[in-house]
Amino acid sequence: MVNAPDFTARKRERVTVMGMATEAQFHVLAVDDSCIDRKLIEKLLKNSSYHVTTVDSGSKALEFLGLHEDNLRNSNPSSVSLHHNQEIEINLIITDYCMPGMTGYDLLKRIKESSSLKDIPVVIMSSENVPSRISRCLEEGAEEFFLKPVQSSDMKRLRPHLLKGKFREQQQLFQLQLQQQQPQPQQHPNNKRKAMEEGLSGGLSPERTRPRYSGLTVV
């Protein structure tokens, strides 16, 4: 049940969120040793309006994510500083299974073992339909298993995992605000928060943008 002040507050909140909406996109990291497959997955992802980075190996993926082979269980913040001092936020990792050196499965394990990266959804691709391989990956925490060649119809299967990630971040953010006793959600946001809110405002129905924690009254 919504009383007038609450509704207005939420509406203001939504307007603020919408007002801040720019071209923020989900950022996907694609890992594949095959040049052709990298080109394909990049095009597929770009056609779905995702920002894409491609790398050709698991170790390069870890490097990009800020994890080095010897720092597996480091609890770094999930944002990675580049030499430009920019924050890199990866919303989903899609990786080939069969790669020389570090396989997609190895990469999946490293990601799930990392406190800073374990919440990033991971999708595995493979040209071979091996049930034991599929279940092994899903058990290790992969969200989906795509059979190659990946097609445009597969792209919509990514969205729920990307949105789930954003909701989780948004929940954490609001909890943080609660702790800091900052009732105005339209305070000056940092990059990451802005990206989260923009992500939420993109293509969601009003019901979905209304937070579940309706107990939070905006004064």
Partner: protein, 156 residues
Amino acid sequence: MLGFGADRLRADMNRLLALLFHQGVLDEQFLQLQQLQDETSPNFVSEVVNIYFHESEKLLRNLRGLLSDRELSDYKKMGIHLNQFMGSSSSIGAKRVRNVCVAFRAASEQNNRVGCLRALEMLEHEYCYLKNRLHELFQMEQQRVMAAGVRYPMQN
């Protein structure tokens, strides 16, 4: 009147594509490639296919090299090359090439030298045929684009 050439070329292209599908040389994945091509990447298909040609020729050279040694053939390495060849062929819809790779891989897993040599010959043949027909297709496409462009001359 000038646009007539463009339409005829398009019809020829479609006929060639239909033939290649009918022969099993190409499969549905090639259509997927075409659908990915758009204004932001107008040469997507030819770019991908050119990468495929470049990679495939390297793989074929490697395979021939591995089989040239009568004494010791590294069948495991052959398998790795074949997996790569299979994967890329599947990604562009080169069905017959991919199928020969499967047979080739089976022969290599049995250390069957004669079988491998036969498969390599077939693979080179299939690849050659595919390459020639795709080149034909791309040439027709280039001509079609030019012919279509001439239909509406620029008025400056």
